[in-house]
């Protein structure tokens, strides 16, 4: 059964009581919330996701409105994992982005059997491209464009999860988070995709989420072979070009972008080394022309 098989009233009722248990990317989540934006967000972005019929969930999450007098003036919401709140409350309107960030935090803070890197991952022809990037590098925009191009599937827009024992990438397909200008860019590029309502004035500016394709979600259990690491860098009016990066340089950048390199100690070192043994690494400057960018990425995986 998929989440979309529940109608809005039923979904809201479950969120209110026993919780909605579903698969969000590679993890199972049991979610409780009385906040209407969460019901809408789930319906908009998670309709294709399977409900979890089993009794076990990896993460028990609750998005609650804060109590106290303040809620009448400036209402806020808070993220709870197992009843504990790891973050400060956020404005009420930001409930859905808060849920998404919180779920990312659940993975980066608890999943240490794999190397977790701050990067988008997309795959075509059995070859996965890892796109690590600092905010503003154009990583999410490029990832969203590729995820909307036929033949490509999304593994993740934020977290590359590398299983260093099997040397494969573990998919974690969840809604793609788009920020500021890239919201309109992607809405124009892929008008048929499903977007959540844009939320303004978050700590990251304006934020909207885009639903991954059904193929991406159905591929959740198929691990991917890492083939390329591409470090994107958006520079307006530049030439879009791929430039080889040395493995040593790539190593340092990947270590910097990973969340648990230090926790894994020597395993972390071995993990990045084995990842680099399987991949070619490039620096990619691009001017924001998505058609050109997609062609260049296609040329990599079609060789």
């Amino acid at each position: 059964m998929r989440l979309a098989d529940l109608n809005k009233t039923e979904l809201a009722k479950r969120l209110n009581h026993q919780g909605v248990c579903f698969f969000a990317g590679g993890f199972s989540v049991c979610l409780n919330s009385k906040v209407p934006a969460i019901v809408d967000g789930l319906l908009s972005q998670y309709g294709n996701n399977l409900l979890n019929e089993a009794d076990f969930s990896d993460f028990h999450i609750n998005i609650k409105a804060t109590s106290g007098v303040r809620r009448f003036i400036r209402p806020r919401v808070q993220f709870f994992l197992n009843g504990n709140a790891p973050f400060y409350p956020m404005p009420y309107t930001q409930a859905f982005p808060l849920l998404e960030w919180g779920m990312n935090w659940c993975v980066t803070n608890h999943c240490h059997e794999h190397l977790v890197i701050h990067a988008a991952v997309v795959e075509k022809n059995g070859k996965a491209i890892i796109l690590p990037g600092t905010p503003g590098s154009g990583k999410s925009t490029l990832c969203a464009a590729l995820a909307n191009t036929s033949g490509w599937r999304l593994l993740s827009d934020e977290l590359a999860i590398y299983n260093y024992k099997s040397q494969m990438l573990v998919p974690n397909p969840r809604p793609v988070s788009l920020k500021n200008q890239s919201i309109d860019v992607i809405k124009k590029f892929a008008p048929s995709s499903i977007f959540s309502p844009t939320v303004h004035d978050t700590i990251k500016g304006s934020v909207a989420h885009m639903m991954p394709s059904i193929e991406s979600i159905e591929g959740t259990n198929n691990d991917a072979v890492p083939a390329f690491v591409v470090f994107p860098k958006y520079i307006a009016e530049s030439n879009s070009e791929l430039e080889l990066v040395s493995k040593g340089d790539a190593f340092i950048q990947l270590a910097e972008h990973s969340f648990n390199y230090q926790i894994l100690h020597s395993d972390g070192f071995e993990a990045i080394a084995s990842l680099l043994d399987q991949t070619n690494c490039y620096k990619y400057t691009y001017d924001g022309d998505l058609a050109v960018a997609i062609n260049q990425m296609e040329s990599l995986v079609c060789l």
Binding site: D55, F56, S57, D58, N82, H112, E113, I263, L264
Partner: protein
């Protein structure tokens, strides 16, 4: 007798997991995250060769927690080594306390435990040179405002926390084991006389009885119990280990508590361990420590409060009266730490003057930012 929580059952009778269903595991993982004890549970199950009974799709929670513990452990061991080297130059040998102390003495209680900081004790007459030595070797004191700084220096049992500028782990340097103003101040000289040197690690720690008493005082005189269940589990493990190794342990523990005038704390500690972990305490020891208990009503209130705050910090465990219990213990903690003529000015400062200076500072910062 109340049933002990699921987490305690796993830690003390791990064979029970063989019959667990998915729903029980679901609850256990939630409690494990809330109490921060997944790594310890993993260690127990691994020692008892029970790992195969953890469902395949659940085991990663334990393995990941264990990885995090190993990273913490290696960091603390490294810090302990660097610290000893730095102080050795001045001929000072620190006594490791709490978490680092468990590592120094190779107690079972360090397995699967996360470490937020390293605590050491240094005799008061050597504090100045130790502080100097540490500063030369790269440790820095955290920036405190004038009030906090003088408060620490005048009333506390430790100097303001330090941390190494490259590694960032917090170091607490104690020159006494309880706040100087505390109604339950422990006689440091007595503790110092019993300090033991571990053959295995070459580090100094308190004697086994004092390790128990010190951890008990820390846990039960504190006002914050978010990690209470974990700390009580440390105590349960120590009590089981020490009494197993040494048949005189219970006797020595009780008389030591009497000697240090902390019998009441030992009473609360043993009763809580027994309630929550079913720690096997011989009947005659129970009879002896009952001599330390307060009047009937106070006894009932205190044990109920401790029971509430020391359970795993998760909905499935905490009783309804948890907030009342927390408030009572908060007041008690401050009452015991400071006499009224220090407490009242302190609370006044913290509730009126500190917020004002903070606000003032913020205003200045925003002004400067606007100018910049």
């Amino acid at each position: 007798m109340k049933q002990i929580p699921l987490s305690s059952r796993l830690l003390t009778t791990p064979q029970c997991i063989i019959s667990w269903d998915e729903l029980t595991w679901d609850l256990l993982i939630q409690q494990g995250y809330a109490s921060g004890l997944l790594a310890r549970m993993y260690n127990v199950l691994s020692t008892e060769k029970l790992l195969e009974h953890i469902p395949k799709h659940i085991i990663w929670h334990f393995e990941s927690a264990y990885k995090l513990y190993q990273a913490h452990y290696l960091d603390v061991v490294y810090e302990m080594d660097k610290l000893s080297q730095a102080l050795n130059v001045a001929g000072i040998m620190p006594v490791f306390l709490k978490g680092a102390g468990y590592i120094a003495s190779r107690d079972n209680s360090y397995f699967g435990r996360l470490f937020a900081d390293v605590d050491i004790y240094i005799p008061k007459n050597k504090i100045a040179s130790a502080e100097q030595m540490l500063k030369w070797q790269g440790w820095e004191s955290k920036k405190l405002d004038d009030y906090d700084e003088s408060y620490y220096r005048k009333w506390m049992h430790e100097i303001p926390p330090m941390s190494h500028k490259m590694r960032g782990m917090t170091l607490d340097v104690h020159h006494s084991l309880t706040p100087l103003t505390s109604k339950m101040a422990m006689d440091v000289e007595k503790l110092e006389k019993k300090v033991v040197l571990s053959n295995e690690t070459g580090y100094q720690t308190l004697s086994p009885e004092d390790r128990v008493l010190h951890s008990a005082i820390h846990l039960l005189l504190d006002s914050e119990f978010s990690k209470g269940f974990r700390d009580l589990s440390d105590l349960d493990i120590m009590l089981r280990e020490f009494s197993g190794k040494n048949s005189d342990f219970w006797c020595a523990l009780v008389s030591r508590a009497e000697d240090l005038a902390v019998g009441r704390v030992l009473y609360y500690c043993l009763m809580s361990c027994h309630q929550i972990f079913e720690t096997p305490i011989p009947d005659e020891v129970i009879k002896q420590i009952k001599g330390f208990s307060p009047s009937k009503i106070v006894n009932k209130i205190m044990l109920t409060c401790f029971y509430a705050v020391l359970l795993p910090n998760h909905n499935s465990c905490v009783p309804r009266y948890i907030n009342i219990a927390n408030n009572i213990l908060f007041l008690r903690s401050h009452w015991l730490k400071m006499p009224m003529h220090i407490l009242i000015p302190h609370l006044f400062h913290k509730s009126f003057i500190t917020p004002f200076t903070e606000w003032n500072k913020q205003q200045k910062e925003t002004e400067q930012n606007l100018k910049g």
